[in-house]
Amino acid sequence: MTTSEAVRSRGNAAGATGPRSPRGGAGQARLKSRPADRIFFGLSLGSAVLIVVILAAVATFLIVQSIPAITADWKTSPELSTGPTAGYSSFWSYVAPLIWGTVWVSAIALVIGAPIAIGIALFISHYAPRRLAGVLGYLIDLLAAVPSIVFGLWGIIVIRPLLLPLTDWLNQNLGWIPIFAGKPSTTGSTILAGGVVLAVMILPIISSISREIFLQTPRLHEEAALALGATKWEMIKLAVFPYARSGVVSATLLGLGRALGETMAIALIISPSIGFSLRILTEGQNAQTIAANIALNFQVADALQRKALIGTGLVLFVISLAVNIVARFIVSRTGKSGGPRRRVQLAPPEAASLFVANDPALSPVRGTSDKAEGASA
């Protein structure tokens, strides 16, 4: 439920970015200004400022803390040439394989998780009986509330042994593909196992946002497609997917954002080695992620090594921020320019022309109401 609210408010904010309607509303109220209005305006403004301040404080902390390690000479520094940071010529040669590992593990999770999440969302929004849809939606949201340490332990105890036969099979039969190559793991602490658990962890985010967006598809578009003789799958292909495309992309990116920062599950499940490796079935050649690397080494790190680890955290912060900004940008672009307009442009030309030609008098009217609906939803 909370996710759907979040989506709705996001839709609002996105729709309102142009004309700045909250300020406009406040302006009107100022004519007959009352204390309650001013207090509430102050409180909400304060909250809005606070989040910016917190973000800025985190960024400042990361930058200030990490600069000594980033600028240090890694080859000669006595602190950096021992322990977790031993053997690297500079900060960048240390962080580069970690960036690769972070992106690679997240990508594996996304490849496994996103199609399933979108399938679940589509089933809930368009196929499931109303009652079942409600229960299923609730269960998916519940999945988001499971702590990641629990997922980590579940991964170790259940998923790792469960995937061992698959690991062997993939290695024996598809070992010529680089990602399945190498000596297969006997304990199961592979990137594959980590990716599967991570996929389960990002399911609720992708699924609940996609579900909301599928549900927002204008009813008229769907009915029009069905009226034109489309089957249910064709209707979804013609009406639902084009309308929801950007929303689903941004939901996937938000899922990616979660996967990038995941720490405990990865640290517990995967047997890491810092390096550029594509392999997902081995024990000793798994790329390491930034977040797990920090969690595993922070305890023994001394002062400067900690700064180096915080520096890798800064890099992760920048990557996550970039992914989230791209996701928001895609959402806001659709929200502003209006889903329906995009839809007409993106939909197959014959469908669009039929739609317009079928009832020229009716369609503009409905189009506007759709647009209003889309903006407010």
């Binding site: 304990t187 640290a267 922070f298 305890q299």
Partner: protein, 387 residues
Amino acid sequence: MLARRGHHPEGNTVKFKHVATAGAVALAAAIALTSCASTPSATPGASNNATSAATPLDTTLTGTITAGGSSAQANAQTAWSTAFHTQVAGTTINYDKSQGSGGGVTNWLAGSYDFAGSDAALTAAQQTSSQANCGAGGALDLPAYLSGVAIIYNLPGVTGLKLSSATLAKIFTLQVKTWNDPAIAADNPGASLPSTAITVVTRSDGSGTTANFTTYLHDVQPSIFTQAAGTAWPVAGTSGQQGGSGVVNTVTAGAGTIGYADHSSIGTATAADIQVGTAKTFVTYSAKGATNAFAAAATTTPSTKGDLTQVLDYSKITNKDSYPIPLLSYQILCTTFKDPAQAKVTKAYLGYIGSEIGQAIAAKNAGSAPLPAAILADVQKSLALVK
């Protein structure tokens, strides 16, 4: 619905906490009693007075000790602080194990801890920088916790595995790849070894156990284990797991696995007998064995007056009553505290840890090995210098 659900667990937690606290107090009392009863000969007069240690405890002390560091010491610290608190009720000891050795020393150097628990003694650079907070006298490394690195394995059908130091070094550098390798067979004459591949399980997180074990391997077999010792596992291609428990779980769950862990945390896993000295003598881990090994191999090499940094010479561990891979952890504190009252409380607590009773409590509750009496006497002497 949600509110009601939220209520129940909370109620349970509160109840549980009460039960846990009561249990802890009862346990602590039991510890204090049993440990005194069991070591009457070691500390004369202790049988009728629970508070007597090497230096008598001042039970009127009050204050809060803030410390943190080594997670290897965590269980022992819990036992020590509970037992200490039952006797000196006015004190509170907060030991933060989440910091690890590195974080403990960092925070202590910054002045936020009264002492740090660390699996490694201070480096020369750290000793120098400690003078900012500790004055010209610098800091003291005091041995506090002794255990052994156990080599655990899971090989169905094989028990009582014996490993020489050379074979151990070859296995952990991935030069010996299967269980029926001639090197292992030579150590275990008569045993039927399967051709199962060996999966070497190590720590993926930085750890004092790794530092102790790699130091041992590098010292005993420098030509095979050429990698430098350190807190990070140096050989690529092993199965890295988080924490001692991660290693133990993975070794237990796998087949053909071998790994290393602090002996106090191996649970029901099977530990191998390790070669001691250069002859074909193999010993099973015992607390007594770790204590004997420490007594035989450790030399105090002070970096400042009163410092008890230990250097272990593994080649001196040759007697079959010694376990060859001891694991040592220190408490680190200033020679001069800014607040004399704080120094008094900290000294009392560390003196308690460094007493025979303190060591017995850790041995009983955390599975550690008691430090030899000679080094405990040195600890008390060094603590007397602290002001």
